[in-house]
Every structure is written in C-alpha cells, then in structure tokens.
C-alpha cells in the first residue's frame, strides 16, 4: 500500500455530543470530512457521517457456508470413498453423526474468515504503526479531521473558522 503522507487539520472535542453536532454542521456546510476518531464506538455517528452499514456479516455467512460444506464433504469422502469402515453396524454415510463436526467447522471458518477480513480491510496487522493524530484520542478526546494536503490557505482558514464555531477544544495540524 502506498504510504503517502497527508497533512491533516483536526479538531478535538471534549464530548461525543459536541462531535456529533460538529459533524452535522460540517455535512451541512458540505465540508469534505477525512475521518472521525473516537475513544469508543459512538452510536448515531454513522448516519450523519453517511457511512454505509458494514457488509462484514454477509462475508461471515459465506465463510460459514464454506466451512460447513468443507467439513461435511470431507467426512463424506473419507467414509464413503477413501476408507469406508463400518462402525457399530451403522451405514458408511451416517449423516446424524456428522452434524456436530459440520457445525464446529461452520463456526470455525466464519469466525476466522471474518476476523482476518476485518483486520485486512482495516489495514491492521501486528506491527502496523498507527497513523494516530493525537494520543488522547484513545482516552477522552473526540477528533474530527480534514485532509488539507492540497488545500489553499483560504480553505484552511475556513476550516479553522468552522472549528471555532463548533466549539472544538483544540485545533491542530499534523502530517501523517
């Protein structure tokens, strides 16, 4: 992934309600928000940020279906084709006995698949250096950030004015 550095203008708010108010105001003023960073999941933020619902759970279903098929087909192949053995006079293809393992494989594949997908699409892996704007974002500050890499001075002033208006506690610029 390209790691171009960005110049970011960001404001810190003291409360999630202030942040929500600011995001609403920014949307109204048609400002192009880069991202919003919060110390915990703030409910009600997604619709005003215009974030679509995550599709991760659809993938979870697909991974689960793959796991179920893989588990069931493996047992079927082993006991009917590769090495058929009679256990206790039961048929080779004893479907009810396959259910527990099929279920476990469904859960295993769904959980691992979704978790790996989650970390991949978020660009998160062991050792990835966080492009963190401020140490206090994981503590008690709520951050609204604008990308000002290509912005003119006038634009930056306009954004700074917006932060003052929306009662940001602090406004800073950082290159990440």
């Amino acid at each position: 992934m390209a790691t171009e550095s960005k110049k970011v203008l960001y404001g810190l708010y003291n409360d999630e309600e202030d942040l929500k108010g600011a995001v609403k105001a920014a949307a109204k003023a048609h400002l192009d928000i880069m991202d919003v960073f919060t110390p915990f999941p703030v409910h009600g933020l997604d619709p005003i940020l215009d974030l679509k619902e995550s599709r991760l759970h659809y993938l979870g279903f697909i991974y689960g279906a793959i796991g179920a098929t893989f588990g069931f087909m493996t047992m079927t192949w082993v006991f009917t084709r590769d090495w058929p053995i009679v256990f206790g006079g039961k048929p080779y293809w004893s479907v009810p006995a396959f259910i527990p393992i099929t279920f476990e494989m469904t859960v295993l594949f769904a959980a691992w698949g979704m978790t790996i997908t989650f970390y991949t699409i978020c660009g998160m892996w062991p050792g990835v250096k966080a492009k963190s704007l401020d140490n206090r974002i994981t503590d008690d500050k709520f951050c609204l950030a604008f990308d000002v890499t290509d912005a003119t001075e006038g634009d930056v002033d306009k954004l700074k004015g917006f932060f003052t208006q929306s009662q940001a506690a602090e406004v800073n610029v950082k290159t990440i």
Partner: protein, 476 residues
C-alpha cells in the same frame, strides 16, 4: 423516591467518573510496578505451575500407570478435571456473547476478565485428555490429516473426536473474540506509554486509530462473533456430555445430559468469575467498575443455574426409578448410597442447597458470602463430575471387576498444578492488559454512570444533550 430515569436501570459505574478517569483507573494497574499482593500470589501460583511441570514430566517418563486410574475406573481424576475446567470456561463466553445479544450492560464490567478466564480454563482443561493419551508425542493423531499410515483417518462418528473439534474451535474462536475486543484498549495503553513499552503495545494493538469506520466494523464483527459463539458455547458442553451420553453405560446414557451439563457449566463458570472478580476488584481497586450490582447480577445467574442443576439431579433419580430398568436403578442407587456416597452428598449440598442462600438479597449483595459460596459451588461442581465418572464406573456389569479408585500424588499434583497454570496466566494478564474493557465501559458511562442515573444523579437523563460548556463544567 422520584427518579429521572426508570429505576430498573442499575448504576454500573460509581464515583462520578469522567472518560479520562476511566482510562486512568483501568490502565494504571498495567503501568505501576506490581504490588506486594501480586508478587506473593505470583510466586505461589508459579510454585504450583512448577509442581505441574514436575508431575507431567513424571507421567510422561514413567507412563500413566503412575496414576490411580485402573482398568475398571479408566476415566478418573483426569476426565473429572477436564470437564470441570471446560465448564469453568463457559461463563466467559456466556458473559461476553449471550449477554451482549441480550444487551445486558453489566457485562462490560466483567467480560474482559471472564473471557480471559475462559481461555486459560480451556488451556488447563486440554492438559488432561492430552496426557491421558499416554503416548503424548503422538497426540497429533487426533487431527484428521492426509498421512502415510494408510491414510488412516480419525473416526468422525466418535463423540471423542467431536470433542476435539468442539474444544479446539471453542478455544480459537474465544481467543479471536477476546483479542479483537482487546485491541482498542491496547491502543489506549499504547498511547499512554513511552519508549520500549510503547513499541511493544504498538505491535500488539495492530495500528488501531479509532476511526469511525473501524469502530463500525469492529461492532459488526463483535456482534456476529457473539452470535456464533452463543450456539458454539452450548454445543461445546453438549458435546462434552455426549462423551458420556452416547455410551451404553447405565448412569451415563441419559438424554438429560446436554442441558444438565450446560447449566452446570454456566453455574461453575460464574462461581469462578465471582471468586476471581471479588479478589481482582479489591486488589486492583476496581470497585467503581465492578460494583455490588454486578456481583448481585452474577449471583442471580448462579441461583438460577444451581436450581436447574438441582432439578436435573432429581429428574435423573426419578427417571432411573420410573424406567423400571434394574441396571439403571442399580447405578443410581450406587451413586447415592454406594462406595462414593460422600461425593454425592457433597455435590447435593454444595450445588443444590448452598446456592439457595442467594434468594436473600443481603447474602447476594455481601462480598464475603459471595466469595465463600463461589468456592463452595466450585467444589460441588467438581464433586458432580467425580460422581458421574467414578461412581458409575466403579460398579459395572461384572461384579468381579468392581473396583475402587484413589488418586495418587501424581494426579493430585497435576490437578493442583493446573490451578497454578491458571492463576499464573491470569496474574500475567492483569499486568499486561486492562482487566476491564475500557472502551466498552466508556460507551455505557452516560446510561449507567452514577452522575447520570440513580439517586445521586447530578444531571437528568438529558445531560448528554446539553451544551459543551455545561458538560465541561460537569466533568471537572
């Protein structure tokens, strides 16, 4: 008393905490040097871990003939301890998954520690069947993989193999669930740290920034993992009970086993969470996050599951009599009045009688009673597994093979040693990661903090919609 919010909502965070206070309180235990209590506890549990290592090496070197298990009672302490530990693990998943689906807010105070407990308990449980195999260096034979021995496959129809799948899935899914929940909190610790320590937490927090989209996906992932962990946790103990229930041994082949085992697992798991949390909240000074209301909620679960288990014991006895099947009747007569009668009465007293004390609100809300009864319950649940396994096997179809079982020092050392393993892991965990989920507690502050709800609320429920200036004042 008139209240601004519905009185059914309990205060779950006391002490008028701000977001910053929460970060401070929950991160500090990982940042200070260990307290004297911690060092003593760690020394003691590592001593038991050493004993465990010694007894295991002894077992592997000399063979499992060093155990008291014999040809009649071939599943003895090892499987008893295995089932006991697996059961203890269940409360973590119940708290983190099922209570998440039920939107029980009190889970946030205890879920992190309970999930850690699940993982450590499953590690302890795994030791027993693995070393019971005897030739432990061939333990990988339990996994089906293409091999040069035929290929010789595992028996997919066997409940013992289902157990392999259930427990390894349970372990790895619990680990994913726990760690993904931990990542934002590790980032919090990272952002407070400097130097080498910061580098370490940077590595383990995976580059978490707290972006809105990441939080959205994180919540979606947590919810689905909770959704699939719920049937998973029920399946695990169901499958453990199949180890017995699908056999043809009187006293074991009963259809009541799956629900009875699951209820028992939740029962013993909650008792272990109580034992740990009562100590943890005191030592790490977390009384504002793990309040009496949390403890009371867990005690309610204990009295419910304890009663379910009690009903199951009585149902078993009734069905044994009602079946008119003499072998079944003989097995249950033996359970109650046979050679191991003391363990049956221990089980009945600890699991059925003692938790009934929790009907009293004063006992439910008493730290000392909770701690004492949580230990009684765990002793009782250990007896239950011993009763099911040892008494049933001790008197089988052939009187000539009837036998009695006593553990040897090796088995006793392995069992007490796994407690050393468990507590060593838990104590390390309290030093390296926040034991309470920081982000999740912050997220419920405005609906469960004592400054917002309850008799001492300083603001009405609308406080969260006030102006920035007003709240700034309220926070400082």
């Amino acid at each position: 008393m008139s209240q601004a919010v519905a009185p059914v909502r309990h205060v779950l965070i006391t002490g008028n905490k701000s977001y910053h206070n929460i970060t401070e309180d929950l991160c500090t235990p990982t940042e200070k040097s260990p307290t004297r209590e911690w060092i003593i506890a760690f020394a003691l549990s590592s001593a038991f871990l050493g004993l465990y290592a010694f007894a295991i090496i002894w077992t592997v070197w000399k063979g499992i003939g060093e155990w008291g298990a014999n040809r009649t009672i071939n599943w003895a302490w090892d499987i008893t301890n295995f089932v006991w530990w697996i059961g203890i693990g269940h409360a973590g998943t119940l708290i983190s998954a099922i209570l998440l689906l039920f939107r029980q807010r009190w889970r946030t105070g205890v879920n992190r520690a309970a999930e850690a407990m699940t993982i450590f308990a499953v590690i302890c449980a795994g030791q027993f069947p693995i070393f019971h195999m005897g030739r432990v260096w061939l333990a990988f034979f339990i996994f089906p993989f293409p091999n040069t021995r035929g290929p010789l496959w595992t028996n997919f129809n066997s409940p013992l193999l289902w157990d392999v799948f259930a427990i390894s899935t349970y372990f790895s899914v619990s680990l994913l669930f726990w760690y993904t929940g931990l990542v934002p909190d590790l980032a919090t610790v990272r952002d407070r740290a400097t130097g080498m320590r910061r580098k370490m937490y940077e590595f383990f927090s995976f580059g978490w920034t707290g972006s809105a989209k990441h939080w959205q996906r994180w919540e979606a992932l947590s919810l689905v993992l909770a959704g699939i962990s719920t049937p998973l946790v029920l399946s695990v103990h169901t499958i453990v009970s199949f180890d017995f229930a699908t056999s043809v041994i009187p006293g074991w082949h009963t259809t009541i086993f799956p629900p009875y085992f699951v209820a028992g697992a939740v029962f013993s798991g909650f008792a272990m969470v109580q034992t740990l949390m009562v100590i943890t909240r005191k030592v790490l000074k977390l009384e504002d996050y793990i309040t009496i209301n949390h403890i009371e909620s867990m005690n309610k679960v204990i009295v419910l599951t304890g009663t379910i288990v009690g009903v199951a014991y009585l149902t078993e006895l009734f069905i044994a009599w009602y079946s008119g099947y003499i072998y079944e009747q003989f097995a249950f007569y033996n359970r109650v009045f046979g050679v191991y009668w003391w363990s049956y009465f221990g089980m009945m007293f600890c699991n059925v009688v003692s938790p009934q004390l929790f009907w009293s609100r004063n006992i439910r809300r008493s730290i000392w009673w909770t701690f004492f009864l949580s230990i009684v319950v765990n002793v009782g649940m250990w007896f239950e597994r011993f009763v099911i396994i040892a008494t049933t096997l001790a008197r089988d179809y052939l009187p000539s093979s009837w036998s009695y079982y006593r553990p040897t020092w090796v088995e006793i050392s392995i069992f007490t040693g796994t407690m050393g393993l468990f507590f060593t892991l838990y104590l390390i965990f309290t030093r390296v990661a926040p034991v309470v989920a920081i982000a999740e507690v912050k997220a419920i502050l405005k609906v469960a903090g004592d400054q917002f709800i309850g008799p001492d609320a300083k603001h009405g429920h609308d406080a969260s919609h006030g102006s920035a200036a007003e709240k700034k004042q309220a926070k400082h």
